[in-house]
């Protein structure tokens, strides 16, 4: 399905508004939309809301053989998916250009910056290492997917706990979460990307463009930084010419924004930790506000609690006996045995229990269905004799 096309009057209006330093939702030029970070019940699941843009990241781990060039380092794998529910413009099937671009940016931001200590992911050098997989799903697109995805990915990585591993000589034991507490990944720093949209050949810039602003922009500059003011990755797309001062100015703005966002992530992680410790309910379902407009109301139904065993026995006594069924004959073919303790077989083994043989004496055969019914009948006979 195609997305709604942008009309000429919208484009003109947006550009005019940007010239007057006005944005559609009333933000200032350097303002971010409201960021909300929530974590799911599992470790490593994180939802990020950037205004109306919504993104989910999930981290999982697996033991695999390491790469041959790096036998004592773990593997990090990133995958960003543009889901169809995010926008009617995202189609299923082959990867679109935007999807490839976002994937590459996410990889460069997180992998090349070496924010995770991959050597600590090694279990047995050359044989077994942890592969950490980060899956980011876009749930709603209202502009600036890259920033939301990077915040979600790094928050999920900080939130994730991998199973504890014990090595004794040659033996490697992976403990389940019930046996030993899972341990967090060792993260050196948190790279976060900040996007700048440029208009009118680089004259005007906006931070955190929303979807309509993204449609009319000329180019995009993405700077990934951490709070120690180290630039992890810079990418410019759209083919605009930028001056050196503009790039320097953008990096200064980015450092301010990144420190704010890092604080927000840390606060969210702390809240989640205290909630889990206090035993309170945490997770995605709890973070959604309950807005009820209808309530399910059911009248009380009475449950009958009278004892029915007497009526049952009277019914059974007065009822007719079930018709006699003749069991199909079982012919023991040499080499065939019935499965089950005490049933006959032709293997010539010693029988410990002689009495079962008497019951089986009449019946013999190789039909599996007949064998099953035979077993059930045996059961009934045993139960009745016990009673």
């Amino acid at each position: 399905m195609k997305d709604t096309p942008l009309s000429n009057c919208e484009r003109d209006f947006l550009l005019k508004a940007i010239e007057e330093k006005k944005r559609l939702d009333g933000r200032q030029t350097y303002d971010y939309r409201k960021i909300k970070i929530t974590f799911g019940t599992d470790y490593g699941c994180c939802f990020v809301d950037l205004g109306q843009t919504r993104v989910m990241a999930q981290v999982s781990c697996e033991l695999v053989a390491p790469k041959e060039s790096r036998p004592n380092e773990g593997i990090m794998f990133f995958n960003l998916e543009l889901s169809q529910m995010a926008s009617p413009a995202f189609e299923q099937g082959r990867q679109s250009e935007l999807s490839v671009k976002l994937n590459r940016q996410l990889e460069r931001c997180l992998r090349n910056s070496k924010c995770i200590d991959t050597e600590s992911l090694c279990v047995v050098s050359g044989e077994k290492v942890w592969q950490i997989r980060v899956d980011v799903h876009t749930l709603n697109n209202d502009g600036n997917l890259m920033d939301a995805a990077s915040v979600a990915a790094i928050s999920a990585l900080c939130h994730f706990r991998r199973p504890d591993v014990g090595i004794q000589g040659e033996e490697v034991t992976v403990y389940s979460p019930e046996e030993r507490d899972p341990i967090p990944l060792s993260i050196y720093h948190m790279p976060i990307s900040v996007s700048f949209a440029f208009f009118q050949q680089g004259t005007y810039l906006l931070v955190d463009p929303c979807e309509r602003e993204e449609r009319v922009m000329d180019g995009l500059l993405m700077i990934a930084m951490n709070k120690h003011r180290e630039i992890c990755s810079i990418q410019s797309s759209g083919g605009i010419m930028l001056l050196k001062e503009q790039v320097m100015r953008c990096s200064k703005i980015a450092s301010v924004k990144v420190s704010e966002i890092t604080e927000l992530i840390n606060k969210a992680l702390l809240n989640d930790k205290t909630a889990r410790k206090a035993g309170g309910r945490c997770g995605f379902a709890e973070s959604m506000p309950q807005e009820r407009i209808t309530a399910l109301k059911m009248d009380q139904t009475s449950v009958e609690m009278t004892d029915v065993s007497e009526t049952v026995s009277s019914i059974v006594q007065t009822a007719e006996a079930p018709p006699q069924t003749v069991p199909s004959p079982l012919v023991p073919v040499p080499g065939v045995g019935q499965i089950g303790e005490g049933l006959c077989n032709t293997w010539g083994l010693e029988e410990e229990e002689e009495e079962e043989d008497d019951d089986d004496g009449e019946s013999s055969g190789g039909d599996s269905v007949a064998e099953v019914t035979k077993m059930e009948k045996e059961q009934h006979k045993d139960d009745k004799s016990r009673k």
Binding site: P5, E10, F13, A17, K22, L24
Partner: protein, 295 residues
């Protein structure tokens, strides 16, 4: 309780009152409106005690959900002679007749208009084209004699270049890709491609055509748009108090706004988008704050 009539000839009209007191019979082996067959001697109208009209009237203003039904059969078919008042119901959008029952097919509030129209008013954002409705469309392509227009539905509608006022084969209208058009549907059903025109029956534009020099296009829910277009809408009255502005309202949920300055246009757009779910007092409070210049 039944009153028996005297023996009558076939041509005479009976005047028997069924046990459901509201309805009066027309023929002797007819059906009472409570859908129970009976003869002159008896009426097994135990099931019904009121007509459907009054049941519906009672529930006007309540929220109904799909699956709710009103069973108490509809009024008799046309009487042999025309005396008496037949109670007819006109079931509007959201209500559907199925045999003897009236089924609700949409969730919303039941509304009533005198004398006998009932319908369900619901909120939705996805527009389904209907003949005669005026919408705002965006021209996406020009192919030969026809423009392709996107109106927010599942396919694009076609708009012929001759469907403008004063357009001839030589005198083509000045429409570019990306322009906004205000048009109405002449063909809109689920089996054919929808068609739009920018003229009315007599060939005049009547407000339709290309527009939109300097305003902003926003998308709202269909319920809000219908409220804006209602005859004595208090939402419109509140808007009039604010500041002078121009609005073009399309039934597909798209609204084009223009005010004196960019700031005022933006304020208006944001106001409309947020007052969808507000009650009237909340909305008036918000508007008052804007008038005082707080925002």
């Amino acid at each position: 309780m039944m009153r028996r009539t005297r023996r009558r000839k076939k041509e005479e009209v009976e005047d028997i009152k069924c046990a459901c007191q509201n309805l009066i019979l027309r023929s002797d082996r007819g059906r009472c409106g409570c859908s129970s067959r009976f003869s002159i001697t008896s009426c097994s109208a135990a099931r019904c005690s009121m007509s459907m009209f009054s049941i519906l009237k009672e529930r006007v203003g309540q929220i109904l959900l799909p699956g709710d039904e009103f069973c108490c059969g509809p009024q008799d078919t046309l009487p042999l002679t025309d005396s008496g008042r037949p109670e007819r119901l006109v079931a509007g959008p959201g209500l559907r007749r199925s045999g003897d029952r009236l089924l609700v097919s949409r969730s919303g509030v039941l509304r009533h208009k005198e004398p006998n129209k009932f319908w369900i008013e619901s909120q939705q954002r996805r527009y389904v084209p209907a003949k005669g409705e005026t919408v705002i469309g965006i021209v996406t392509a020009k192919s030969g004699d026809v423009f392709k227009v996107d109106y927010g539905g599942s396919e694009q509608a076609s708009l012929s270049y001759l469907a403008f006022e004063g357009a001839t084969k030589r005198n083509r209208p000045n429409v570019q890709v990306g322009d906004l058009v205000f048009a109405q549907f002449v063909v809109a059903n689920k089996d054919m491609e929808p068609e739009l025109v920018c003229i009315d029956g007599s060939g005049r534009a009547n407000g339709m055509g290309v527009f939109g020099a300097a305003g902003l296009l926003i998308k709202l829910s269909l319920g809000l748009v219908r409220r804006l277009l209602a005859p004595h809408s208090d939402l419109r009255a509140d808007l009039e108090q604010l500041f002078p502005c121009e609005l073009v309202v399309g039934m597909n949920g798209r609204i084009w706004v223009r005010a004196a300055s960019v700031q005022q246009t933006l304020i208006l757009a944001n106001l409309l988008q947020s007052c969808d779910t507000m009650t009237a007092p909340q909305r008036q409070q918000l508007f008052r704050r804007i008038q005082l210049g707080a925002l």
